[in-house]
């Protein structure tokens, strides 16, 4: 497995071994860790302490025990499901879209406009997005009325904007653009001569994809997918406006505990946030394993 090796340089002295086993190189990451500590971990530390307190302020583990309540487990399950599905579907079509504008032979103006549009759309979430879909695909939405006019009422055929599928369709609005923006540099990095070389050797487009392009792109695709997962996992306002909390997701339940008009238990909210941290950590481990495998091909 790849270890950190100092760059071989003519006449350079190899770095002295530190007790950490990979040299003193980690010091180069200190600015990043310092900044994160000062402006993220430290301010949020009271979240950790708060999760160990009850409403009266005394120490307790009850909040963590409460995490096994069926309604909270349900919220986590919903969040994970919605995030995973929108990450995969978003990743797929986002990738296709990016590939289409970069290597699909379309005018370059399409690429610029898609990139800039994606920049805006990636953050078009929350109340405006929910309302946009309500105005378009709601029961009296413009598209719905149009379709009803030609005899194809979507609501009669089982479609509803207000269930999980509807929510996922709405989430994709900011997942597609995110994928487009993140994967674009990787697609840029696919050199045209590789494709031509593969074609010269007689590979069909499918073979080129399966054997050359996809393996090269896989690490980046994986990385982008986990970003999409986290993005959907942390989203809150869109689902809240659209479904009024009837589809319980973790972020909304936390919000209800911490922010609402009705007195609740912020300690439970903080414990749930810690639960989210654990889930992200697990996702990253899975992703890292897959990453290493895909990069192994590149290194051979």
């Amino acid at each position: 497995m790849a270890d950190a090796t100092t760059v071989r340089d003519r006449g350079a002295v190899t770095a002295p071994r530190s007790p950490f086993g990979f040299g003193w190189s980690w010091l180069g990451l200190v600015p990043f860790f310092l900044f994160s500590a000062a402006f993220m971990f430290l301010p949020v530390s009271f979240l950790v302490f708060g999760s160990l307190q009850d409403s009266a302020g005394s120490m307790t583990l009850q909040n963590y025990r409460d995490l096994s309540r069926p309604d909270i487990v349900n919220a986590f399950a919903n969040s994970i499901e919605i995030s995973a599905i929108t990450a995969i579907v978003g990743g797929l079509f986002g990738f296709l879209l990016a590939y289409a504008v970069i290597l699909g032979g379309l005018p370059s103006f399409f690429r610029t406009s898609l990139m800039t549009f994606s920049g805006v759309a990636s953050n078009f979430a929350g109340v405006p997005l929910a309302l946009a879909f309500i105005f378009t695909f709601g029961q009296l939405g413009i598209m719905t009325v149009l379709l009803r006019g030609i005899g194809l009422d979507p609501y009669q055929h089982g479609f509803s904007l207000y269930n999980k599928v509807g929510l996922e369709v709405v989430y994709l609005y900011f997942q597609f653009p995110l994928m487009v923006l993140i994967i674009a540099p990787a697609i840029d990095g696919l050199r045209r001569d590789w494709r031509e070389a593969a074609e010269n050797l007689g590979a069909s487009p499918r073979e080129y994809w399966r054997r050359v392009a996809l393996p090269i792109l896989m690490p980046s695709i994986l990385g982008a997918t986990i970003l999409l997962f986290g993005n959907a996992f942390g989203a809150q306002a869109t689902a809240f406006q659209l479904t009024g909390g009837t589809i319980p997701i973790v972020t909304n339940v936390i919000g209800a505990q911490i922010r609402g008009d009705v007195l609740h238990n912020p300690g439970l909210g903080y414990a749930m946030a810690m639960g989210m941290v654990v889930i992200m950590a697990i996702s990253i481990s899975i992703y890292t394993v897959l990453q290493r495998r895909s990069e192994r091909w590149l290194r051979s």
Partner: protein
Amino acid sequence: MRCNLKLENPPLTRNHRLFRTVAPTAVLAMLFAACSGGASSPAASQPPASQAPASQGASQAPGGSGSGGADLTKLIADAKAEGTLTTIALPHDWCNYGEAIDTFKSTYGLQVNELDPNAGSGDEVEAIKANKGSTGPQAPDVIDVGLSFGPSAKSEDLLMPYKVATWESIPTSAKDPDGAWYGDYYGVLSFEVNTAVIQNIPQDWADLLKPEYKGKVALAGDPRVSNQAIQAVYAAALANGGSLDNAQPGLDFFKKLNDSGNLVPVIATAATVASGETPITIRWTYNALSNRDTTAASGGPKIEVVVPKSGRFAGVYVQAISKYAPHPNAAKLWMEFLYSDEGQNIWLKGYCHPIRYEDLVKNNKVPQEQLSKLPDVTGAVFPSLDQLNTASKLITTKWNDTVGADIK
């Protein structure tokens, strides 16, 4: 002169006297009249636990026509020295706060720093807690929160007690005896109906269950989060065989509403009502009426506001001053302003029933045209704090089972 002597009395005696004069307004009026021009409050920067009303002439608009007491003048001067007031969670179209803030600014020349207008009560309390050591513009001076937040914030020692000049005319059930928090306005839950989509307008809670309203009824919030929504469920209980002590029928009602497909899970806003997505929305009369006006002003569909025949439930919000307020005098002046006749009338213009409503009407302080615009809310019931807390607990814990994830 009498008033000066009163103020120099030890607090205990003054408290007793205050309690005993909760009597007729006439007595108060005499007291006020006698004390005009005499009273001077001790330095307003100390948090006085049981101080006599700062200005005895405040049954008129403060600073308006000259007979406000010297302490009101001193309060104004102190507030001006501070220069700014920091508010939070005051949307301009909620109870006409926009006009209240503008009038306050222009009358006293103070700046008003408005923090998040969409904050919930939990946010407001959290903002006070987080800003304990801060004197910057992030620390709110005054808060406007749901009824149950008053006592809980007081128990966490976050509030600065203060009794406005018109303290006596605030109903006892709507204020903290120590002056830590005090009710400000109330409204009743009503149906906001988009008449372009709904021809047959529902008149009562039972009507909402009719099959013609399939997919048409919505709440303006999530009952686990918003006061307005949770009290809608509570109100439905009153109309369906429940009582202030039993909110379960409300949950049953909404279960029926959801199972029949009449309930739309969207959080209703003025936009969704106007677009017809949530043509029947359950919200406070003042919000519904204000929406009606703004929609009409934009040429949108005609909105009708119906106060249901049964199940009239009144919800009270409370005001309080933060103990860590960076501008305590500005905060007190703001309270004096809000509880003066002028301030209460501004709220009334926003279709809210100000907490001193009975008193104002009795003294003919309300312009007739305003009175006629108010909805008829006779028979509205007010829950006590305990009843509210019990019902809230029930509704928030049971809501998930009532309206599960299988929305039709």
